[in-house]
Amino acid sequence: MESSSSKITDEIRAEASRLLSSGEVAAFLGFVPGSLPMTVRPFVARSSEDAARLVWNSFCVMNLANYLPEVLKSVEPPRGPGDPEPEGPLPRVGVLATGCWSRNMVVQIQENRIQRDRVVILGISSRGMVDRKKVLARLGGREALKVEEQDHSLLVSGRAFNEEIPRWEVVRDNCRSCVHPDPVIWDIMIGERAGDRQNANRFAQVEEIESLAPEERWAWFQEEISSCIRCYACRNACPLCYCPTCFVDDSRPQWVGKSIEPVDTAIFHILRAYHCAGRCTDCGACESACPMGIRMRLFTKKLEKDVLEMYGAEAGMDPETPLPLSTFSPDDPQDFIVTGQESPKSTGDEAGRSGEVSQS
């Protein structure tokens, strides 16, 4: 039986080809197979021939939204800084989008990174992408030469072994906790919409850490980031990290030292996560990109949980809902506010109000 991925691949090729040949889009952003098993790479198809190379499988871990602004720019007529805006509508770009990618695109639309009317979105309900690192870990050093994908399992074969791995077990953490697999914006739907997933506890990983004592959490955090080599692959993979000058590169003031001293690394990760607060759609691209296996998603996931619990907001669900940090409600929770009422009974000489001083 044909796997759902290959069916989707066929449909993508057909639609992309149609869009390109009809001129509806100037380019189509998708994936082609990578050089290693279980890898793909983003690919910009500019003709129907190109379109025939596109694939869809469980290893599409890169968030295409990350490349979309660049691709959009690439199809615009060249123009210098002072040049007038080109007349007429600008060329459009086709792109694939799962739930989290489409939500990411919504955020980028809200942040004026992309224009909705310039993208043609082929929506795909995500079944979860496979974490290559998990597969490799199961193989325990054995080299996979070929990985064949079925709907519920992966058939991995290498020198002198064949192994069938249940697919769900090696799906990425972010996908396992995903509740919104369907795209929230799309133009053409590929396959069926699956509907929201009734995930028992999307924040289980976060809650596990929350239940630790402060010192244990600190130890966990230190351990988690200790291997960081400050390569910024996570940042580069993230569609939301697009500042022309990243804070890590700022020198005036210098927010973060460039060393791999633990404090600098810690501040890098704190700020990176914080900058994604209310924006991150948990696409997992950062974690997938990390060469050191750091689970930095947990930091953004924590913020996702807080934003949902405190402000009832989820990033990218609706282009009309302002980003949570650019709005407020008068009734936002504030139980963290200190009032001085827990002030320990003052001791010694700084106590209270001195002497008989008239207040007025």
Binding site: W218, A219, Q222, D306, R353
Partner: protein, 141 residues
């Protein structure tokens, strides 16, 4: 007699219109509180970014206090409302990674709350004092 003991150092970002005025009123009213605060006047609690808080911790502050006008009282209409969201998330994130919650504090102090300011200063100081010097995010220069 004063005894030489470790005194926590707390960076306090106070909004100009309410909390800084409240701190002044504490002085005018001679409410005594520990000499731990290093007050930095900012126009509005909405001016305080996560970066600033982290920088203070990195520079060696044992604690940070951000204080603004009570919700609804902001001189700039709504700056404190944005601050409330930003700081709530930052606080939660810092706690998540194991920074003691008592190190980072947010309060609302109005211009007429001198006593409350002194009380907050004392509460924050004593909580930080109980934790001892900050270690986690301090950078040694």
């Amino acid at each position: 007699m004063e005894t030489k003991k470790w005194e926590p150092r707390i960076v306090a970002f106070l909004c100009n219109w309410c909390s800084y005025a409240g701190a002044d009123l504490a002085g005018v009213s001679r409410y005594q509180y520990p000499p731990s605060l290093r007050i930095i006047r900012v126009p509005c609690s909405g001016r305080v970014s996560a970066n600033m808080v982290l920088d203070a911790l990195k520079s060696g502050a044992d604690g940070v206090l951000v204080s603004g006008c009570h919700p609804g009282d902001c001189h700039y209409i709504s700056g404190n409302m944005y601050a409330r969201r930003r700081l709530a998330l930052l606080k939660s994130l810092l706690e998540f990674i194991g920074i003691e919650p008592e190190r980072f504090n947010v309060s609302w102090i109005s211009a007429s709350e001198g006593k409350q300011f002194a009380e907050v200063a004392r509460e924050v100081t004593e909580k930080v004092r109980a934790l001892g010097p900050a270690r986690h995010l301090v950078k040694d220069f």
